[in-house]
Amino acid sequence: MKFGPKSTVVAVLTASALALTACGGGSNNGGGADAAATALTLGTLNDVRSWDPAQAHVGHLLQPYQAVYDSLLLREPDGKLSPMLATAWKYNDTNTVLTVDLRTDVTFSDGAKFDAAAAKANLDHFKKANGPQMPQLTAVSEVKVVDADTVELNLASPDPSLEYYLSQAAGLMGSPKALETEGIKTEPVGSGPYVMDKASSVKDSQTVFNAREGYWNKDLQKYTKLTFKILADLTARTNALVSGQVDATLLDPKTGKQAEGAKMILASNEVDWQGFLLLDRDGTKNPALKDVRVRQAINYAFDRKTILDQVLLGQGTPTSQPFGKASGAWVEDLENKYPYDPAKAKALLKEAGFESGVTLDVPTYSGIESLLAVLKQQLADVGITLNIGAALANTFTSDVASQKYTSLYFQLFQGEPWVAINQMVSTKALYNPFKNTTPELQAKIDAVQTAGTEAGKAAQEVNKYVVDQAWFAPLFRINQMYYHNDKVNVEPQVQQAVPSIYNYSPAK
């Protein structure tokens, strides 16, 4: 092939475009190929409120803390718990005392040593610091130092999620010297793989970390520099990803298409379920909801697959159960318990004496308007009126707690069985504001609490009960659309929209 004048022009233009991309594109890694391979920049949704480990949260709000704080237990991508700062842990026979053996070779970045006293200081601090996850240690009545590398957690009542919590916010270990100080709110002091570069960090804009020298576990420290770029706006996240400013970030089905056009790689993961929470099951305010046949009719009214494909671009899986696939409480047979059957829905309503119609009131919120319109239509087809009310306000959680809503269309996190039960099933759960229960259900819940490692299996019974009784009308499990470029390998983390910090590695 000969190069005519035209192709020369094209070549020059392409070359200059490439050169401009390299200097102006805001690429985050200057220097040679080696340096490029060891810097990781992540686009995150918001900055942490306080670096005090007791103020850590769950999911994507946990990730930044993992950069500086090690946790007692490490949660593997598939949910399995492995040793981290704790080398071994064991319950007594009644599941009321958890004995935890600790590493002896770990120091914090301020030089303080990690030992049993430090672990106790952290757990005690967490119990009284009034952080968003404080209930994680509610069951723990006392933390005792047995010897330099052993602590004992005494429980007031068994908590099958405690080991999981020790891999989450409650397990993060900060330097005991810094814990009660003001300083730790803005500058974290932990034993983790990275230390914060305070001078390069700006609140709500970016947080920069450098690898900590002499970190005890080189396997968890895969980068020399780690930057969280805070991009609250979805458009900004999409633009930053496709232009190479960040290596990975969370998008949605629509912006995901754009990212795929730019050859970004999807690491998708089902984290939440979406559907109706039929809260007023005793019929206090909406008498129709007292009848299980009405609640079941609502479940039969939806063509889940078609709605998912049309409205959510197919990003998810239709389901009839509220418990997550990875939780252990998931039951294969419940997946399609309520298929699309308008005739059956109508028959059930007739049987219950509500053929003249049922009204379901739900609040709306930003982003679900078109979905609610479709659901309203499908409910109308079986004789149920969906009354879409005012948008959720920022008083939402208090409104739910004060029984303002008799039903909700919502998206809820699918956590560990005991977490899920305390979120939406037990009488203490926020999403059970009318405190519905029966002796039968309570017995099943109690069985989960004392089941220890068998909690998942025991929770299947709770799952079956709430599905049979149609406490909810689940529609789908939703895909979280986490995208990354080809410079980084990303392993999705079960039950998290955003992977744990250990799940990233440079692509070879």
Partner: protein
Amino acid sequence: MITFILKRLGSGLVVLLTVSVLTFVLLYASSGSIARNILGDQATPEQLLVKEAELGLDQPLFVRYFSWLTHALRGDLGASWFSSEPVTNSLATRIPVTMTMVITAMILIAVIATLIGVAAAVKRGWVDRVVQVGAIIGDSIPGFVIGVILVTVLAIQAGLFPATSTISPGAPLNAWVMSMTLPVIALLINGVTGGAQQIRSAVIKQLERDYVRTLRSRGIGEREILFKHVLRSAAPAGLTVLSLQLIGMLGGVVILESIFALPGMGPLAVTATAQSDLPVVMGIVMYTVVVVIVVNLLVDLLNGWLNPKVRVS
């Protein structure tokens, strides 16, 4: 002159005080659920009570307002309920970003709009028609749409600019210039088209006045008439439009700052308001009111300087 400035500043203080009372009372209604919002949906009722006491939410409105006011008078605007960051700190890091953007855009708008507006008024004919049509097109496209188009074409496809801000501590001037270029252009276009329209009609109006005819009859050159007399008389109209634009821009930058991830006042205002983070919202409202008062005062002074007719005795 000094009395004039003092009077204006005095009335500004009254406005500031009134706005602070109104904002405080309006936000009070939604502060009932603050503890819930901060602690999340798993918090127990006991936790909520502790948090409310910590934030002083158990105090009556009156007590809370006066405590805020006395602290504010000492320069202490409190700390965010959510991040515990002092409000003065947040403002100090964010105001420079927003102000750099707004002031740069304003200066460019003033220069470009004047050039275009005067050209359209003096030349008329096709120049005028192009300016008129351009003004309609420019005015009808919202700034954020222009912003998104600019990012897609110039940042993502051509790679000439960073898609989102690269401003960080110790960032070279270059990073500021590169990060600000696209948002400033997006802000510019609406401002220029709107401003040029106003300046054009003000200049045309002046050119039709008798004094211009008189000046011409005395043999004074067109250039001198335009720059020495017409522009001076047309200036108040132009300045008023520009000052209104600047104040409007404080709202316009909110979306642009989000799209370009610029760490300015916009994203802060949006999150703080959505969360009812009262100390931060109060800080932002105070900042906005101060900007509005200062801009209006400056415009009055400038007008007086340019045009003795409107000068206050």
